[in-house]
Symmetry: C2
Subunit: 184 residues, 2 copies
Protein backbone atom coordinates (compact mmCIF):
# COMPACT_ATOMS: atom_id res chain seq x y z
CA UNK A 1 0.00 0.00 0.00
CA UNK A 2 1.02 3.57 -0.50
CA UNK A 3 -0.19 4.53 2.97
CA UNK A 4 2.24 2.29 4.81
CA UNK A 5 4.17 3.62 7.83
CA UNK A 6 7.31 3.78 5.71
CA UNK A 7 6.51 4.80 2.18
CA UNK A 8 9.14 4.86 -0.49
CA UNK A 9 9.46 8.62 -0.36
CA UNK A 10 9.83 8.38 3.37
CA UNK A 11 12.58 5.79 3.19
CA UNK A 12 14.26 7.87 0.57
CA UNK A 13 14.22 10.87 2.86
CA UNK A 14 15.60 8.88 5.77
CA UNK A 15 18.51 7.60 3.70
CA UNK A 16 19.21 11.09 2.45
CA UNK A 17 19.26 12.39 6.00
CA UNK A 18 21.54 9.58 7.12
CA UNK A 19 24.00 10.42 4.36
CA UNK A 20 23.89 14.09 5.27
CA UNK A 21 24.60 13.39 8.92
CA UNK A 22 27.46 11.03 8.16
CA UNK A 23 28.95 13.52 5.72
CA UNK A 24 28.69 16.32 8.26
CA UNK A 25 30.58 14.32 10.85
CA UNK A 26 33.31 13.22 8.47
CA UNK A 27 33.76 16.63 6.86
CA UNK A 28 33.92 18.24 10.31
CA UNK A 29 36.46 15.70 11.50
CA UNK A 30 38.73 15.36 8.47
CA UNK A 31 37.97 18.23 6.13
CA UNK A 32 36.90 18.15 2.51
CA UNK A 33 39.91 16.61 0.82
CA UNK A 34 40.43 13.77 3.27
CA UNK A 35 36.79 12.78 3.33
CA UNK A 36 35.89 10.23 0.68
CA UNK A 37 32.52 9.42 -0.80
CA UNK A 38 33.26 5.80 0.03
CA UNK A 39 33.72 6.59 3.71
CA UNK A 40 30.55 8.66 3.80
CA UNK A 41 28.60 5.82 2.22
CA UNK A 42 29.99 3.29 4.69
CA UNK A 43 29.23 5.51 7.67
CA UNK A 44 25.69 6.00 6.38
CA UNK A 45 25.31 2.29 5.73
CA UNK A 46 24.71 2.66 2.03
CA UNK A 47 26.92 2.66 -1.01
CA UNK A 48 28.86 5.32 -2.92
CA UNK A 49 26.63 5.23 -5.99
CA UNK A 50 23.63 6.20 -3.93
CA UNK A 51 25.44 9.13 -2.42
CA UNK A 52 26.30 10.33 -5.90
CA UNK A 53 22.73 9.78 -7.07
CA UNK A 54 21.30 11.90 -4.27
CA UNK A 55 23.83 14.72 -4.31
CA UNK A 56 25.41 14.67 -7.73
CA UNK A 57 28.94 15.40 -6.60
CA UNK A 58 31.13 15.58 -3.53
CA UNK A 59 31.26 19.35 -3.96
CA UNK A 60 27.47 19.63 -3.86
CA UNK A 61 27.26 17.31 -0.86
CA UNK A 62 29.66 19.56 1.00
CA UNK A 63 27.70 22.63 -0.01
CA UNK A 64 24.52 21.22 1.48
CA UNK A 65 26.30 20.09 4.63
CA UNK A 66 27.92 23.44 5.23
CA UNK A 67 25.16 25.83 4.29
CA UNK A 68 24.72 28.19 7.19
CA UNK A 69 21.43 28.88 8.85
CA UNK A 70 20.76 32.64 8.80
CA UNK A 71 22.37 34.43 11.72
CA UNK A 72 20.31 36.92 13.74
CA UNK A 73 21.21 40.53 12.87
CA UNK A 74 23.78 42.35 15.00
CA UNK A 75 22.75 45.91 15.71
CA UNK A 76 21.95 48.46 18.38
CA UNK A 77 24.01 50.17 21.05
CA UNK A 78 27.64 49.09 21.61
CA UNK A 79 26.55 47.17 24.69
CA UNK A 80 23.87 45.38 22.72
CA UNK A 81 26.26 44.57 19.88
CA UNK A 82 28.66 43.10 22.39
CA UNK A 83 25.92 40.92 23.84
CA UNK A 84 24.76 39.75 20.44
CA UNK A 85 28.28 38.88 19.35
CA UNK A 86 28.95 36.88 22.47
CA UNK A 87 25.56 35.21 22.26
CA UNK A 88 26.42 34.09 18.73
CA UNK A 89 29.68 32.72 20.05
CA UNK A 90 27.88 30.91 22.87
CA UNK A 91 25.63 29.34 20.30
CA UNK A 92 28.58 28.05 18.28
CA UNK A 93 30.30 26.70 21.37
CA UNK A 94 27.32 25.01 22.96
CA UNK A 95 25.38 23.44 20.12
CA UNK A 96 27.95 21.10 18.70
CA UNK A 97 26.98 22.53 15.31
CA UNK A 98 28.76 20.07 13.11
CA UNK A 99 27.77 21.90 9.94
CA UNK A 100 29.66 24.99 11.02
CA UNK A 101 32.61 22.92 12.16
CA UNK A 102 32.70 21.26 8.74
CA UNK A 103 32.89 24.65 7.10
CA UNK A 104 35.57 25.91 9.48
CA UNK A 105 37.62 22.74 9.19
CA UNK A 106 38.06 23.26 5.46
CA UNK A 107 38.22 27.04 5.31
CA UNK A 108 42.00 27.17 4.84
CA UNK A 109 42.27 24.55 2.14
CA UNK A 110 39.01 24.41 0.23
CA UNK A 111 38.15 27.49 -1.87
CA UNK A 112 34.38 27.16 -1.49
CA UNK A 113 34.68 26.82 2.28
CA UNK A 114 36.99 29.83 2.41
CA UNK A 115 34.46 31.85 0.47
CA UNK A 116 31.64 30.75 2.76
CA UNK A 117 33.49 31.79 5.89
CA UNK A 118 34.64 35.03 4.30
CA UNK A 119 31.10 36.00 3.37
CA UNK A 120 29.74 35.08 6.75
CA UNK A 121 32.36 37.13 8.56
CA UNK A 122 32.15 40.04 6.14
CA UNK A 123 28.40 40.24 6.69
CA UNK A 124 28.86 40.39 10.46
CA UNK A 125 31.72 42.81 10.00
CA UNK A 126 29.59 45.33 8.10
CA UNK A 127 26.90 45.26 10.75
CA UNK A 128 29.37 45.78 13.56
CA UNK A 129 31.34 48.43 11.70
CA UNK A 130 28.12 50.33 10.94
CA UNK A 131 27.63 51.11 14.61
CA UNK A 132 31.27 52.05 15.11
CA UNK A 133 32.42 54.84 12.85
CA UNK A 134 36.02 55.89 12.70
CA UNK A 135 38.84 55.27 10.30
CA UNK A 136 39.55 51.68 11.23
CA UNK A 137 36.00 50.47 11.90
CA UNK A 138 36.24 47.63 9.40
CA UNK A 139 39.57 46.50 10.78
CA UNK A 140 38.25 46.48 14.34
CA UNK A 141 35.15 44.58 13.25
CA UNK A 142 37.27 42.07 11.38
CA UNK A 143 39.43 41.49 14.43
CA UNK A 144 36.38 40.92 16.60
CA UNK A 145 35.08 38.42 14.09
CA UNK A 146 38.40 36.61 13.98
CA UNK A 147 38.62 36.53 17.78
CA UNK A 148 35.29 34.79 18.18
CA UNK A 149 36.21 32.45 15.35
CA UNK A 150 39.54 31.76 17.02
CA UNK A 151 37.80 30.67 20.20
CA UNK A 152 35.88 27.99 18.30
CA UNK A 153 39.02 27.00 16.44
CA UNK A 154 41.10 26.57 19.56
CA UNK A 155 38.43 24.79 21.54
CA UNK A 156 36.75 22.50 19.04
CA UNK A 157 39.13 22.07 16.13
CA UNK A 158 42.69 22.37 17.45
CA UNK A 159 41.60 21.23 20.89
CA UNK A 160 44.20 23.26 22.73
CA UNK A 161 45.02 22.37 26.29
CA UNK A 162 43.10 24.75 28.53
CA UNK A 163 40.46 25.37 25.87
CA UNK A 164 39.42 21.91 24.80
CA UNK A 165 36.28 21.07 26.73
CA UNK A 166 36.35 24.41 28.54
CA UNK A 167 33.01 25.79 29.75
CA UNK A 168 31.65 28.12 27.05
CA UNK A 169 30.57 30.60 29.72
CA UNK A 170 34.11 30.89 31.03
CA UNK A 171 35.45 31.54 27.56
CA UNK A 172 32.77 34.13 26.86
CA UNK A 173 33.36 36.04 30.08
CA UNK A 174 37.13 36.03 29.51
CA UNK A 175 36.62 37.34 26.00
CA UNK A 176 34.05 39.98 26.92
CA UNK A 177 36.51 42.66 28.06
CA UNK A 178 38.72 41.97 25.05
CA UNK A 179 35.78 42.42 22.71
CA UNK A 180 34.82 45.62 24.53
CA UNK A 181 38.20 47.18 23.82
CA UNK A 182 37.58 46.72 20.11
CA UNK A 183 33.97 47.83 19.70
CA UNK A 184 33.61 50.43 22.40
Amino acid sequence: MSSEPTSRAERRERTRARILTAARDLFAENGFDRTTIRAVATAAATDPALVMRYFGSKEELFRQVAEAGAEPPIEGSPGRVEDLLLAALRDKLTTGDTGTLALLRSMLTHPAAAEGVRQSITEQQRQVAAGLGGEDAMTRAALVGMITLAAVLGRDLLKLEGLHGADPEVIIELLRPAVQTLIR
Copy 2:
Protein backbone atom coordinates in the same frame (compact mmCIF):
# COMPACT_ATOMS: atom_id res chain seq x y z
CA MET B 1 88.44 20.49 -11.74
CA SER B 2 87.01 20.14 -8.29
CA SER B 3 87.73 23.76 -7.45
CA GLU B 4 85.36 25.23 -10.03
CA PRO B 5 83.08 28.14 -9.10
CA THR B 6 80.11 25.79 -9.05
CA SER B 7 81.13 22.42 -7.71
CA ARG B 8 78.79 19.48 -7.79
CA ALA B 9 78.01 19.77 -4.10
CA GLU B 10 77.27 23.42 -4.62
CA ARG B 11 74.91 22.82 -7.51
CA ARG B 12 73.25 20.13 -5.48
CA GLU B 13 72.70 22.53 -2.64
CA ARG B 14 71.25 25.17 -4.94
CA THR B 15 68.77 22.73 -6.41
CA ARG B 16 67.79 21.58 -2.95
CA ALA B 17 67.21 25.17 -1.88
CA ARG B 18 65.17 25.88 -5.00
CA ILE B 19 62.93 22.92 -4.29
CA LEU B 20 62.51 23.99 -0.70
CA THR B 21 61.48 27.50 -1.70
CA ALA B 22 59.04 26.30 -4.31
CA ALA B 23 57.54 23.84 -1.85
CA ARG B 24 57.19 26.52 0.79
CA ASP B 25 55.26 28.76 -1.57
CA LEU B 26 52.97 26.03 -2.80
CA PHE B 27 52.29 24.55 0.62
CA ALA B 28 51.57 28.03 1.97
CA GLU B 29 49.23 28.79 -0.90
CA ASN B 30 47.36 25.50 -1.30
CA GLY B 31 48.02 23.40 1.77
CA PHE B 32 49.49 19.94 2.05
CA ASP B 33 46.88 17.84 0.28
CA ARG B 34 46.43 20.07 -2.74
CA THR B 35 50.15 20.50 -3.32
CA THR B 36 51.63 17.85 -5.59
CA ILE B 37 55.22 16.75 -5.87
CA ARG B 38 54.87 17.27 -9.61
CA ALA B 39 53.86 20.90 -9.14
CA VAL B 40 56.75 21.50 -6.75
CA ALA B 41 59.17 20.03 -9.25
CA THR B 42 57.83 22.18 -12.06
CA ALA B 43 57.99 25.34 -9.96
CA ALA B 44 61.58 24.49 -9.01
CA ALA B 45 62.47 23.72 -12.62
CA THR B 46 63.42 20.12 -11.94
CA ASP B 47 61.57 16.85 -12.00
CA PRO B 48 59.55 14.88 -9.46
CA ALA B 49 62.07 12.07 -9.10
CA LEU B 50 64.70 14.50 -7.92
CA VAL B 51 62.39 15.94 -5.31
CA MET B 52 61.79 12.44 -4.00
CA ARG B 53 65.50 11.68 -4.08
CA TYR B 54 66.36 14.72 -2.00
CA PHE B 55 63.54 14.54 0.51
CA GLY B 56 62.38 10.96 0.51
CA SER B 57 58.69 11.68 0.80
CA LYS B 58 56.15 14.47 0.54
CA GLU B 59 55.63 14.23 4.27
CA GLU B 60 59.32 14.81 4.96
CA LEU B 61 59.47 17.68 2.50
CA PHE B 62 56.63 19.34 4.35
CA ARG B 63 58.31 18.72 7.68
CA GLN B 64 61.44 20.51 6.54
CA VAL B 65 59.49 23.38 5.01
CA ALA B 66 57.42 23.94 8.12
CA GLU B 67 59.97 23.44 10.84
CA ALA B 68 59.80 26.49 13.05
CA GLY B 69 62.79 28.58 13.99
CA ALA B 70 63.04 28.77 17.77
CA GLU B 71 60.92 31.57 19.22
CA PRO B 72 62.44 33.93 21.77
CA PRO B 73 61.26 33.12 25.30
CA ILE B 74 58.28 35.03 26.68
CA GLU B 75 58.81 36.04 30.28
CA GLY B 76 59.01 38.90 32.75
CA SER B 77 56.49 41.39 34.06
CA PRO B 78 52.97 41.47 32.56
CA GLY B 79 53.93 44.56 30.61
CA ARG B 80 57.00 42.84 29.22
CA VAL B 81 55.05 39.70 28.33
CA GLU B 82 52.58 41.85 26.47
CA ASP B 83 55.37 43.51 24.50
CA LEU B 84 57.02 40.21 23.67
CA LEU B 85 53.77 38.69 22.50
CA LEU B 86 52.99 41.60 20.25
CA ALA B 87 56.55 41.70 18.96
CA ALA B 88 56.21 38.04 17.98
CA LEU B 89 53.00 38.91 16.19
CA ARG B 90 54.66 41.83 14.42
CA ASP B 91 57.35 39.47 13.27
CA LYS B 92 54.80 37.05 11.78
CA LEU B 93 52.93 39.86 10.07
CA THR B 94 55.93 41.70 8.61
CA THR B 95 58.32 39.04 7.44
CA GLY B 96 56.17 37.19 4.95
CA ASP B 97 57.36 34.04 6.70
CA THR B 98 56.14 31.50 4.18
CA GLY B 99 57.25 28.56 6.32
CA THR B 100 54.90 29.58 9.11
CA LEU B 101 52.10 30.25 6.65
CA ALA B 102 52.59 26.78 5.19
CA LEU B 103 52.18 25.30 8.65
CA LEU B 104 49.13 27.41 9.47
CA ARG B 105 47.50 26.72 6.11
CA SER B 106 47.41 23.00 6.81
CA MET B 107 46.85 23.03 10.55
CA LEU B 108 43.15 22.13 10.31
CA THR B 109 43.49 19.27 7.86
CA HIS B 110 46.93 17.74 8.18
CA PRO B 111 47.65 15.93 11.46
CA ALA B 112 51.36 16.72 11.52
CA ALA B 113 50.69 20.41 10.92
CA ALA B 114 48.04 20.43 13.63
CA GLU B 115 50.51 18.90 16.04
CA GLY B 116 53.17 21.44 15.12
CA VAL B 117 50.89 24.38 15.75
CA ARG B 118 49.55 22.83 18.93
CA GLN B 119 53.03 22.35 20.34
CA SER B 120 54.12 25.83 19.37
CA ILE B 121 51.09 27.42 21.00
CA THR B 122 51.23 25.19 24.04
CA GLU B 123 54.84 26.17 24.63
CA GLN B 124 53.98 29.86 24.48
CA GLN B 125 50.93 29.20 26.62
CA ARG B 126 52.95 27.68 29.45
CA GLN B 127 55.32 30.62 29.51
CA VAL B 128 52.52 33.14 29.58
CA ALA B 129 50.48 31.19 32.11
CA ALA B 130 53.53 30.89 34.40
CA GLY B 131 53.53 34.63 35.00
CA LEU B 132 49.79 34.77 35.50
CA GLY B 133 48.58 32.52 38.28
CA GLY B 134 44.91 32.03 38.97
CA GLU B 135 42.46 29.29 38.20
CA ASP B 136 42.05 29.96 34.50
CA ALA B 137 45.63 30.98 33.62
CA MET B 138 46.00 28.32 30.93
CA THR B 139 42.67 29.25 29.37
CA ARG B 140 43.60 32.94 29.29
CA ALA B 141 46.98 32.13 27.79
CA ALA B 142 45.38 29.92 25.17
CA LEU B 143 42.97 32.67 24.19
CA VAL B 144 45.83 35.13 23.82
CA GLY B 145 47.65 32.68 21.62
CA MET B 146 44.59 32.12 19.48
CA ILE B 147 43.98 35.86 19.17
CA THR B 148 47.41 36.53 17.74
CA LEU B 149 47.06 33.51 15.51
CA ALA B 150 43.67 34.79 14.38
CA ALA B 151 45.21 38.05 13.26
CA VAL B 152 47.60 36.23 10.94
CA LEU B 153 44.82 33.98 9.73
CA GLY B 154 42.48 36.82 8.89
CA ARG B 155 45.10 38.99 7.28
CA ASP B 156 47.30 36.59 5.35
CA LEU B 157 45.32 33.39 4.86
CA LEU B 158 41.63 34.31 4.68
CA LYS B 159 42.46 37.81 3.45
CA LEU B 160 39.46 39.44 5.07
CA GLU B 161 38.37 42.83 3.87
CA GLY B 162 39.75 45.40 6.32
CA LEU B 163 42.57 43.09 7.37
CA HIS B 164 44.13 41.97 4.10
CA GLY B 165 47.12 44.23 3.50
CA ALA B 166 46.46 46.17 6.70
CA ASP B 167 49.45 47.81 8.37
CA PRO B 168 50.84 45.42 10.99
CA GLU B 169 51.33 48.29 13.41
CA VAL B 170 47.65 49.20 13.23
CA ILE B 171 46.63 45.63 13.95
CA ILE B 172 49.06 45.39 16.84
CA GLU B 173 47.90 48.59 18.49
CA LEU B 174 44.27 47.60 18.10
CA LEU B 175 44.97 44.24 19.69
CA ARG B 176 47.13 45.58 22.52
CA PRO B 177 44.26 46.55 24.84
CA ALA B 178 42.49 43.29 24.10
CA VAL B 179 45.60 41.34 25.02
CA GLN B 180 45.98 43.40 28.17
CA THR B 181 42.54 42.38 29.41
CA LEU B 182 43.60 38.75 29.25
CA ILE B 183 47.08 38.80 30.76
CA ARG B 184 46.85 41.67 33.23
